[in-house]
Each structure stands twice: as structure tokens, then as C-alpha cells.
């Protein structure tokens, strides 16, 4: 370089060089990442529970960043047995099968039981009361048809950049899904 001796010119040269390097770097990183961008409909942006993996460990209730977890129980009525003796409704060691609180599996009383016709009972979840503890899901999977399942309610979920439940989920059940799969129902597989 001929202007090596002149500090002003040298400084100007380095300044230009810096601009070129920074600009080039931004273009390179930008172009490379832009190539990885997935179009909105296809991108996996929604956190959801894979109910085939979930073991109802209870961490969904406690690990969400929301004061009350964005995870709630849902009920696939179409595959429910409408049992009188519901494994998700009563505790396994319930002494008497009445609706006294100590016999209920659900700690918040979010499961409503309604007589339909002999011998069937309909169970519905009051999602405003449910806290996502998964106790009923466990009961139903063990003794019933497995028609209860946990879901991340997308209208409650903040869509954290990293779901804090996903990081503690023992079964790796929480993953990101696309818009079409934002809910997975048990009776529509």
C-alpha cells in the first residue's frame, strides 16, 4: 500500500475496509438465514403436546411461564366409554362412588359429570378450572379408553421462543407444530 506512511489516509482505508466487511457480513448472514426461513403456514411455530409420548408427569401444570398453565385437558367424547365408573373422574381408592370432593380425582373440580341415559354418563372439562395437572388423563389412560388428553391451548399460550415445559418434559412430548396441526385430537388421528 502506497499510503502506508500517511496516518490519515491509513485510517480512512481501515474505515472503508470496516464498512465493506460489515456490509458484506450482514448480506452474507442475511442471505444465508433468509434461505432457512419457512413460509408462515408451513413453519412449525406452535408448541403442542404429543399425546402419544406424554406420560402425565404433572410438570405441565407447574412449569409453564403462565401463572395458570396454558396446558388444559380436553376430552374426545366420541371415543369415551361414558362409563359410570370413570377412571378419570374418581380416585382409584374412592370409598364411595358419590361426588363428594374427597372422591374426585380432579383437584380443581373441573370435570362435570352429567347423566345421559342408562347406563351412560357424559364427562366434560371446564377448561376455565382445569390447571393441566394431567391426573384425570392418567386415570383415564390406565383404566378407561384414554379419551382425555392434555393440550396446549393456543389462545392461552404465549408462544415462548422456548417453551419452558418442553425443557423439563421427561418424555420429550412437547414440540413445535405447524398451523394445521396446532391441535391434535384423539378421535381424529
Amino acid at each position: 500500500m502506497s499510503d502506508n506512511g500517511n496516518p490519515i489516509k491509513r485510517r480512512e482505508f481501515f474505515r472503508r475496509l470496516g464498512k465493506v466487511l460489515a456490509g458484506g457480513g450482514i448480506v452474507a448472514v442475511g442471505a444465508r438465514s433468509a434461505a432457512n426461513v419457512k413460509s408462515e403456514g408451513k413453519a412449525d411455530l406452535y408448541w403442542q403436546i404429543d399425546h402419544e409420548k406424554c406420560i402425565q408427569c404433572g410438570r405441565c401444570q407447574t412449569s409453564c411461564v403462565m401463572p395458570v398453565s396454558a396446558v388444559r385437558c380436553m376430552h374426545a367424547n366420541k371415543v369415551c366409554g361414558y362409563c359410570d365408573l370413570c377412571g378419570g373422574y374418581y380416585r382409584t381408592n374412592a370409598k364411595e362412588l358419590n361426588t363428594a370432593a374427597e372422591n374426585m380425582l380432579c383437584p380443581t373440580g373441573a370435570i362435570a359429570r352429567k347423566f345421559v341415559e342408562e347406563p351412560y354418563f357424559e364427562y366434560t372439562i371446564d377448561e376455565a378450572l382445569c390447571n393441566g395437572c394431567g391426573k384425570c388423563v392418567k386415570g383415564c389412560s390406565s383404566f378407561g379408553n384414554g379419551s382425555l388428553f392434555l393440550q396446549i391451548r393456543q389462545e392461552l399460550c404465549l408462544g415462548c421462543n422456548e417453551c419452558s415445559i418442553a425443557k423439563v418434559c421427561p418424555s420429550g412430548a412437547i414440540h413445535r407444530v405447524s398451523y394445521e396441526d396446532a391441535y391434535k385430537f384423539k378421535d381424529q388421528a
Binding site: 464498512k19 460489515a22 450482514i26 426461513v37 410438570r59 393456543q154 408462544g159 418424555s171
Partner: protein, 401 residues
């Protein structure tokens, strides 16, 4: 124990004309929110740039800060944010199966492009974190130069670790240790919120501790802004060296005119610079080796590695109570050999990225040392554009309007 559908009880034949209840569920329109977020980002950046360059006024920037804390902070819960977007972009770089959404990409690149053009106008008030710290700032106690210099390496170290953990798909450290998100969401991990509150209390007395000594995105913007095309100026006229602006800067970015005040002779100075230059590659190698050495320990944060530890411990001496992780492992029909392979893959990735991270850390420490020992005479008060966040606070202090 099966978690799948089982047909222990047949589907009832209802005779009373019973209708199955419908699912009630909703999927929010994420796309719409993305568009709104990016639009707000662009508008706020535009306002700050206009205020700092055309109007030379602090007021609009203050307004932007309030809007940003309100909208990006409290209303949107601090997500998506540019700082965290580093992780998504980094992960998408090495793992094409990972979905990088357009909004996250734009949140990553737009402030960088603005920084290349105008300096850190994003930091001035568009970033809810910077804005929040600025809004509570009252007094600026200056931190001594060597201390500030040493602390300013932390963002790079944080960045290096963030990249390791994101690229191995282990954790998003920035999201986990985000000090202000708990405040924005009014809930979360107590320790992290406490840290956020401490930072806020500190920012009352010294400007933006998070931005200066922690923020990894700030580190990137710092680098880019040094080369920015347009630069804010304390005064459009000539500096008369009155020293009035010096203490107004919240991030200590204003450098006073400087004669050769050190006791060092030029020859000593040159010798020092040469010594640092020789030390630089050595430092890089040393840091790389050290990081490579601790890589297996770092890998223990990865769920696959942890699971491997749990399962081997369980198989060595089965206990009565199974950890839920181990229970899930067996119920998914996985076996130890397959887990071993995937664990080893994770550990080798950790080794690779940790080595690179070590090189980066060594480079940054070496360059900081060099930067601090390179002394160049200044006749006026000048802005250090790496640090300046274009907040426009100094403009008002200058009598040369």
C-alpha cells in the same frame, strides 16, 4: 401403561338422540401478530432515526421508549425479541429442519441493518429492555475504564455460550436468563426476576447495565455500528471542549480529548502493543483448549445426555421409584445402545462448537486489550460509536446548537 387410545369400553349406542359435544378451541392468528410486530418495529426505528438525525431531539425517543416498553414489553410479553432471535437464527444455520419464522428473522436482521446505516438506533428506545433501563435512569456514576473494559467482554462470552447451547439444540440461554421478561409478564422464575430487579435498581445510578455488560445482541450491534455509514453527532457545529456533554451519556460513550498523559514513553507503548499482538493467538489457542476441555461438562445440560446418565444409573442399580424420564424412555421402546449413539453425537457437537466459541472468546479478550492500549490523540470530545446507543441525551448539553 398405554397412553394411546384403547377400547376398553365400547362406544355407547345412545337411544335418546344424544349429540356429542363439539371441541371448543381457537388458534390465534400468529401471522397477523407477526405483521403488526414487524410494522411497529419499523415505525419505531424510523422515529428514532428521524429524531436523532433530523430533529436532534430527545423527546420522540422518550416517547418511543414508553411505547416499546408498553407494547413489546408488557403487551406482547417480551416475545419475540431481537436478542433472543440470535438463537433461532443460529440454530437454523446449522439445522435446516428447524423452522425459522419470517418475523423472527426480520427481528434479527432489521436492527442490524439499521445499525449499519445509523448506529444503534434500535437500542435507543425500540428495544424494550434498553428502553426500560433508560426510563428509570436518573444518575450516571461512571465506572472506571479498566473495570468497564473487563466487564464489556461478558456479552461476548454470553454470546459464545448462547451459540453453543442453541446450535446443539440444548437450551435457549437468552430466554432462560432473560432478566426483564419476568417483570413484563408479572411472573416467572423468582431468581431471574430478582436479578432483573437488581439490574433495574442499578440502572437508576448507572446507565443500562444490561446493555453494556450482558446483552449479546448489543455486542453484535456494537461491532456493526463502528462501521455505520451515518453517525450521530453531539453537535453539528464545532466542539468547543467545554466538557458539558461528558457526563450526560448513560453508557459512557463520550471520549474526552486526550493528550499523552500516561507515563509511558512511545517506545514502551509500541512494545506493549507488540506484546499484545503476540499474545493474541496464544490467548485464542488457550481459550479454545479450555473450552474444549469443559465441553463434556457443558453437554450435561442437554436432555439426551442427562437421560443417558439417568438410564445408565437406573440400569446399574434399579430403584423402586423410576424417574419420569426413565419411565418415558422405556415406555417409548427406546434402548440404551441407540441412546448411547445419540448422546455421543451431542457430546461431539459440543466439543466442536465449544472449541469455536473458545477461539471467539480469546479473540475478543485479545482485541479488547489491544483496543485499550492503542492510544490515539483526540482534539475534541468524540463519540465511541460502538457504545453509543443514539439516545440523543448529550445533544441538549452542548452549547453549540
Amino acid at each position: 401403561m398405554s397412553r394411546l387410545l384403547v377400547n376398553r369400553f365400547p362406544r355407547p349406542d345412545f337411544e335418546s338422540g344424544y349429540l356429542y359435544p363439539e371441541y371448543s378451541y381457537a388458534v390465534p392468528n400468529e401471522m397477523l401478530w407477526d405483521i403488526i410486530d414487524v410494522t411497529v418495529l419499523l415505525i419505531l426505528l424510523g422515529i428514532v432515526t428521524w429524531a436523532a438525525f433530523r430533529k436532534r431531539m430527545r423527546m420522540p425517543i422518550l416517547a418511543v421508549s414508553v411505547v416499546s416498553v408498553g407494547y413489546f414489553g408488557f403487551f406482547r410479553g417480551g416475545c419475540v425479541c431481537s436478542i433472543g432471535s440470535i438463537q433461532n437464527v443460529a440454530l437454523a444455520f446449522v439445522d435446516p429442519s428447524y423452522s425459522l419464522s419470517l418475523a423472527v428473522f426480520l427481528f434479527f436482521i432489521i436492527p442490524i441493518v439499521f445499525a449499519f446505516l445509523f448506529g444503534r438506533v434500535f437500542c435507543a428506545g425500540v428495544c424494550p429492555f434498553g428502553a426500560l433501563q433508560d426510563l428509570v435512569n436518573v444518575k450516571n456514576f461512571r465506572i472506571s475504564r479498566p473495570v468497564a473494559g473487563a466487564l464489556s467482554v461478558i456479552p461476548w462470552i454470553y454470546l459464545a455460550f448462547t451459540l453453543i447451547y442453541a446450535m446443539t439444540r440444548t437450551r435457549f440461554l437468552i430466554c432462560k436468563f432473560d432478566p426483564f421478561i419476568g417483570i413484563f409478564r408479572l411472573g416467572g422464575d423468582i431468581g431471574v426476576i430478582g436479578f432483573g430487579i437488581v439490574l433495574l435498581l442499578m440502572s437508576i445510578f448507572t446507565g443500562r447495565p444490561f446493555c453494556r455488560f450482558l446483552c449479546p445482541y448489543g455486542a453484535i450491534l456494537d461491532l456493526v455500528s463502528r462501521a455505520s455509514i451515518f453517525k450521530v453527532r453531539i453537535t453539528p457545529k464545532r466542539c468547543i471542549c467545554c466538557d458539558l456533554c461528558h457526563d450526560s451519556c448513560p453508557v459512557d460513550a463520550i471520549k474526552a480529548p486526550y493528550g499523552n498523559k500516561t507515563g509511558e514513553t512511545p517506545a514502551e507503548g509500541v512494545r506493549r502493543v507488540v506484546a499484545y499482538m503476540v499474545a493474541l493467538p496464544l490467548l485464542m489457542v488457550a481459550c479454545a483448549l479450555m473450552m474444549r476441555w469443559i465441553a463434556p461438562d457443558l453437554a450435561r445440560a442437554n436432555s439426551e445426555v442427562r437421560l443417558h446418565e439417568m438410564v445408565t444409573a437406573y440400569e446399574a442399580g434399579p430403584q423402586d421409584t423410576m424417574e419420569p424420564e426413565v419411565e418415558a424412555f422405556y415406555s417409548q421402546g427406546r434402548n440404551l445402545a441407540e441412546l448411547e449413539t445419540s448422546r455421543n453425537l451431542v457430546v461431539s457437537k459440543f466439543r466442536f462448537y465449544s472449541t469455536l466459541a473458545g477461539i471467539l472468546i480469546g479473540l475478543v479478550i485479545g482485541l479488547k486489550l489491544l483496543e485499550m492500549s492503542l492510544k490515539r490523540g483526540r482534539k475534541e470530545y468524540e463519540i465511541d460509536y460502538g457504545r453509543c446507543v443514539a439516545c440523543a441525551k448529550c445533544f441538549d448539553y452542548c452549547p453549540q446548537k
